[in-house]
Amino acid sequence: MLSPLAINEKAADSARVIDIADLSLSFTTADGPVQALSGINLAVERGQFISFIGPSGCGKTTLLRAVADLETPSAGAIRVNGMSPQEARANRAYGYVFQAPALYPWRNVERNIALPLEIMGYPKADREARVARGLDLVNLTGFGKKFPWQLSGGMQQRASIARALSFDPDLLLMDEPFGALDEIVRDKLNEQLLRLWDVTKKTVLFVTHSIPEAVFLSTRIVVMSPRPGRIHDVIECGFPRDRTLDIRETPEFLEVANRVRHGLREGHSYED
């Protein structure tokens, strides 16, 4: 499913959360311009879990940042809930989870989760209720008074997910959130994230460079290739919503994983 989308189609489909049309983005560096993204077309519907996978330098993080209005495209258009990324950001349309937890070390876990709520002007009682719900959602109840350095890396990243969800955005943007964690913790968090997605019905854009992670979590996998960053393939991935880690041993799972692996190999050779 890789069709270019005209912006004016958006009214026809309210289920569409993200429309990306002919997006290009280049950075100016000391060595001249670098084309980070080229000719990206993508539509994401409400409730989907989309993974972006590709080697480093393929622009997957840049694409996510462009959706979040943290980078400005040089050509093409992005619509988030029918709005421009700037408007979407102003409307607090998304929660963003970074590669590092980026918790503020002088705030305890509760106050870190409450940070966006404070900025957005939620009243105190509402903040407290939302923090409690957030802690529960990521299984950190009882850790609210701890400072970030008192938590493990996995717990810190869960706290940052609770922070991103605290103001209940419909869209969750996650940039390799579990990249720095070990395999066992990552598996556990993948299962928890899947549960969370199932419960909250959010739309998730998820950047990763792990094939099993992408196949396990996603409804669709966007395989990207570098220089310039572009979409190489989009793979549908329709496992039941209540799946567990066990499905990773099924032939269906391995088949999708193989397709992703082939896609990555075609799109990129390490001799480049």
Partner: protein
């Protein structure tokens, strides 16, 4: 304190005092020989000479016990209201230091906030701030006193201004660094919330600068004290530790000079120590202490 930690400290202090005594004997011997010669004494032993070296009225280098005796006399045995009391002078210096430090740190923090928020000011203002510190304060101090006198500003304020002049600089430099210390992800996070500049400042830049703030304050308060003492040397009629230094050097009262130096050092160390305590309390509250 446990003995393993106390021992090295005690050894160093002991060694410094021993070196000091040796230095005092070496430096004072020629002068003491002359005194003995003038008095017609020739039958003194080396021990007599050394003992006399360490108990002269106006030695070139006073011995530690002479300074302790002078401090005892001028701090403990003299009423703090007397002009002969070191406490009296230290309190004058303290007032000037604290007022100057308050002005200097407010100015320093204000400049840092401006510089961090307005890129143009970094290039246009910073060179002047740096240049201000290249002028020797001893040359500038009398001019500040004279100029402020023109506007009928006298008393403690001109000296506080000189103290502020020295103390704002480390505060500005430290706070610019502190307010810029948040990493890109922490700043991006604020952007995703569409936070205003004021919110980003209050909830991210300001708390992130806390460790830099206390380091700046420590340097700033010590610099303010130096400024206050220099100002008192310039304008000594109002008293203060600087005035004691000046009077001591007029009359060759080296013991008095050294006692005033020690008082100034103790005052400075106390102020820096108090900021250190505040630092520890705040760090613990903010979760920085582990």
């Amino acid at each position: 304190m446990r003995i393993e930690r106390a021992l090295p400290v005690a050894i160093i202090v002991g060694a410094l005092i021993a070196i000091w005594y040796v230095g005092a004997i070496l430096m004072n011997t020629p002068l003491q020989r002359d005194f003995f010669a003038n008095a017609g004494r020739t039958d003194y032993s080396a021990a007599d000479l050394a003992l006399a070296d360490l108990n002269m009225d106006r030695p070139k280098l006073p011995a530690p016990h002479q300074i302790v005796a002078e401090l005892d006399k001028t701090v403990l045995e003299t009423a703090p209201t007397s002009k002969r009391s070191l406490v009296y002078h230290a309190l004058i210096t303290l007032q000037e230091t604290l007022l100057g430090f308050a002005i200097g740190s407010a100015l320093g923090i204000g400049l840092a906030i401006l510089i961090v928020n307005l890129k143009v000011l970094e290039k246009s203002l910073m060179p002047w701030i740096v240049a201000s510190q290249t002028i020797p304060i001893i040359a500038l101090a009398p001019m500040i006193v004279v100029i402020l006198n023109q506007f009928d500003i006298t008393g403690i304020l001109p000296k506080a201004v000189i103290a502020a002049y020295l103390s704002f600089f480390p505060v500005t430099v430290g706070m610019v660094k502190g307010l810029r210390s948040p990493d890109p992800l922490q700043l991006d996070l604020m952007r995703t919330y569409c936070a205003t500049r004021a919110q980003t400042f209050l909830k991210l830049r300001a708390p992130a600068s806390a460790p830099f703030f206390f380091a700046s304050m420590k340097i700033g308060v010590a610099a303010a004290l130096v400024g206050a003492v220099v100002a008192e040397v310039t304008k000594s009629e109002d008293g203060g530790l600087g005035a004691r230094l000046l009077a001591g050097s007029y009359y060759g009262q080296t013991v008095q000079i050294w006692a005033a130096l020690f008082a100034a050092a103790a005052l400075s160390a106390t102020l820096v120590g108090l900021i250190g305590v505040a630092d520890r309390i705040v760090s613990r509250r903010m979760g920085f202490a582990r």
